[in-house]
């Protein structure tokens, strides 16, 4: 299976995503340059983390207009998988591939630390290798991760099982939700109504090797493999 990883000029997690696919998942990956007009036959598109075009205006605001995003949008309309990680999540929202927006962290500070996540829906293209209620450890590293949407949208997301990952406290086993960034309803990751686009602020591609602290993130990629390859 072929993963296409979009490189915007300010992307800085494209390298990590590439190596997660090639070294950990052992599948094929190609970089897709933001000025390109085709997806080089990729089955899955990954919008990686970083600062796409500097993000001085709004995270992801400018990236959505780049040539490659026209192709990515078409890919998504065809029902094919798109995974937006961190800045990629922000871009997906700006591009209308996912509802809501990601605003400056409530603390007004960049936050970088490993967080604990709870799998809220294990029956998606991106999480079928997990179980509902499963705890995952992944790093976050962002300044604009406060997921925000209006109440109808939030209710719909919850009702339709589109809320896939939530932040939970690291101490204790009780699933006590919290937001390291002020996200509404502790939302860390969502999927689109059709279920083929996922956005999340945590970095699964940085959690594929126990040596670096966690390998819980590999499940996201394995899940896609399981479904798409099937």
């Amino acid at each position: 299976m072929k993963f296409g990883i979009v490189t915007f000029p300010g992307s800085n997690c494209d390298f990590d995503a590439y190596h997660a696919i090639v070294d950990a998942l052992r599948e094929e990956a190609v970089y897709l340059w933001h000025k390109d007009h085709d997806l080089a036959g990729a089955d899955v598109v990954i919008l990686p983390g970083g600062f796409s075009y500097g993000d001085y205006l709004r995270a992801g605001a400018i990236a959505r207009f780049s040539p490659i995003m026209t192709e990515v949008a078409a890919h998504a309309r065809r029902g094919a998988p798109v995974l937006g990680i961190c800045n990629g999540f922000q871009i997906a929202c700006e591009a209308g591939l996912l509802p809501g927006a990601l605003l400056r962290n409530e603390s007004l500070k960049f936050v970088s630390e490993p967080v604990q996540l709870r799998v809220e829906n294990a029956d998606t293209l991106f999480t079928n290798r997990y179980e509902v209620g499963q705890r995952l450890t992944m790093p976050i590293a962002h300044g604009d991760g406060r997921y925000t949407a209006d109440d109808e949208t939030l209710d719909r997301l919850e009702g339709e099982g589109q809320v896939v990952l939530r932040y939970v406290h690291s101490e204790g086993d009780a699933d006590e939700y919290w937001s390291p960034n002020g996200s509404m309803r502790a939302i860390a990751g969502i999927v689109s109504a059709q279920g083929n686009v996922m956005g999340l602020m945590p970095h699964p591609e940085r959690a594929v090797d126990a040596l670096l602290g966690s390998s819980d993130g590999i499940g996201i990629f394995e899940s896609m493999l399981a479904r798409v390859a099937a």
């Binding site: 205006l57 207009f65 809501g100 927006a101 962290n105 409530e106 406060r146 925000t148 002020g182």
Partner: protein
């Protein structure tokens, strides 16, 4: 064609959490500005552009806000002033 200076404000939609506004209000209190009741923080964007006339300049600026400058999900915008520069 002449040169215009359009000033616009892009503000977080009312009702949405405005942590900057809140943090600034708190900080102002800490600094002893007790009279402060509320603070809101948005963007102040000044665009210099060429247009036929002020109306055209404003129309153009509006389009920029809708396409790029403001996030329709979380922000509102207003054209503050249009002046010749």
């Amino acid at each position: 064609m002449s040169r215009f200076r359009v000033a616009l404000h892009i503000v977080p939609r009312r009702g949405l959490l405005d942590p900057q506004g809140k943090a600034v209000a708190d900080a102002l209190h800490t600094l002893g500005f007790k009279s402060v009741e509320d603070v809101h923080v948005g963007r102040h964007v000044v665009v210099e552009l060429d247009a036929r006339d002020a109306t055209a300049a404003e129309k153009e600026a509006r389009a920029m806000c809708e396409r790029l400058l403001a996030n329709p999900v979380t922000e509102d915008f207003e054209i503050a002033t249009v002046s010749t520069s």
